[in-house]
Amino acid sequence: MEQQLPVFIVGAPLLFSVIVPILGRKWRLSAFVIAVGTVAVSAVASALSLERVLRDGTFRYYLGGWEPPVGIEWVIDEVSAVVSLVVTSVSLLVVISTRRWAEREAGDRPGIFYGLVLLLLAGLTGIVITGDLFNLFVFLEIASLAAYGLVFIGGRRAMLAGFRYLIIGSIGGAFYLLGVGFIYFATGTLNMIEARQLLEEAESVRAVQVGAVFIFTGLGLKMALVPMHLWLPDAYEHAPSSVNSLIAPVMTKVAAYAMLRMFLSVFPAGYLSGTVPIADALLILGLVGIVFGSVAAAGQTDIRRMLAYSSISQLAFIAVGIGLGTPLALAAALLHVVNHAAMKATLFLATASVRFRVGLQRTHNLAGLGPRMPLTMGAFAVGSVAMVGIPPTAGFFSKWYMVQAGVAEGQWVVVAVVLLSSLLTAVYLFKVLEQVYLRPAKPEPSAHHNDEHDSPADSAVQPAEQEAMRPVVERAREAPLDVWLPIVLLGAATVVLGVLNVVIMEHVLLPGVEVS
């Protein structure tokens, strides 16, 4: 039984993604119940896998009993177990919290919506635990296809955003596959660990380096690394709220994890510096991305778009960790993958909650909301503080370890940019908190409405916002229990992760990074 755990992590969502649409046609509620149950099974299997890895060390699962190099293997080590647990548990909370919104946004077909959610999750967990390069491509495309569909259902403006996401995401997947081809023809294997051994023995082959460039371009497109981020703000802004709270915390993070996995398990260190300096390129793009994402976020008036640019900045932070390449930096990047999933889920869920309860999504319209939705906005505040990186919240510690790694490498630019990014994050998130807590509710509708020519809001929300600003904020009440409880849990998780950071780093992430 314990040996079969990996199948439950990936197999359960994959199987039920087909069953849920069928059952959901007849019984509407069954779609949600089965989806939550399946995600819970996947999360429990991930937790048990993590427990087993910590007890016995890395374990492998041979699909169909075929051992590599003939068969495909799934590898559960510390890193993949942690990321899989984070992906599944954050998804569980998000799916529960967004049930009411999803019912409205998915229209009359909740079965298809939850089927896509499960398909997305199957793809993401598959990417995390697979030990095979081509298998990773297949899971990457499964997850991406589900994400395109989920973004597309967000209505009129989401259609073009979803279509562009599909085109750019498919370019990314195709580039990755092309790179895998170069590795395969150079080594004759698709197994990550075997490929690494063969690459270490071979002297630096130019074809493999070309392949590496393709792989990192492809994954860079999927994780929205800075010049390749153009699809992300539109997709996150226009996607349904129940979808962007799910995609933003986990989707791009898993692409970042895949890139990290390439460093950990596939390419020996020598390949990624020297004539083809991929590591340095990642470092520089990451540093540029941190600053660009934060500055762009500060200029946004729509909270969802602001959080999308903030995601670009945070993903660039992970890229910096990968680019530095020391065990400490890689572990800090992984810690940030974990932390950011919790923080962004809190922020996006709180935003979705406000949008549906009150109908507001502009940063300057939120004045006076703090006392009226204390739990939701409290979690939002905790998430913001964590994003800025104030101890003891989670965000502080990943930045702290990254600064340490930068100092150890003598990369003072990294230290400066990481500190600057905290400051810039504070600029845009505290601007929102100031509105929420310190400003009194505005007596009149905001006069600034007409200057938003670049992004008129969804037709569903904008009229309500304009005609009834004042009553809207004053009538605002706390969201129902099943909505705020997951948000508060995620907000609390950012603090708990911060307090437990030493345990996570020393017992899980650092050993995981060093063994591989």
């Binding site: 081509f134 491509f137 395109y148 009129r156 073009l160 279509f163 498919s170 370019i171 195709a174 596959l177």
Partner: protein, 126 residues
């Protein structure tokens, strides 16, 4: 020059198809042409994999045996079947992506009445 191109013809063809596909996806306003570009791009990668496993004078990867005993197994006699199998999977993935893209186009056309990106953006500004 011509000899060089002819000697590595599949690789040149792959490179040309990738560029054509990328141009279609990025340079064209029509969403249908973008989908066509995507298909061309994916075909280029299929060509790359299949031509990579090319081996002159080799035969099908079937183990010939006499009286149940395999005689003389030399990998150089066989075409590597794995890239072909991988490409079958990649073709399936490509069909899925194209299918999703075309279904998006149907919804977009119903909503906007056009498949031209610029006209859609104008429509949204109204």
């Amino acid at each position: 020059m011509i000899d060089e191109v002819a000697a590595r013809f599949p690789y040149w063809a792959t490179a040309v198809l990738i560029v054509v596909g990328l141009y279609g996806m990025i340079g064209k306003r029509s969403l249908v042409k973008q989908v066509i570009g995507l298909s061309i791009f994916q075909s280029a990668i299929i060509l790359f994999f299949v031509s990579g496993s090319l081996l002159e004078g080799a035969t099908l990867p079937i183990l010939y045996s006499v009286h149940g005993v395999a005689e003389h197994v030399d990998p150089d006699d066989y075409v590597n079947p794995l890239p072909h199998v991988l490409m079958l999977t990649a073709i399936v993935v490509g069909v899925a992506i194209t299918g999703v893209a075309l279904s998006f186009l149907v919804s977009i056309y119903r909503e906007f009445g056009t498949l031209d990106e610029r006209e859609m953006l104008d429509e949204m500004r109204k």
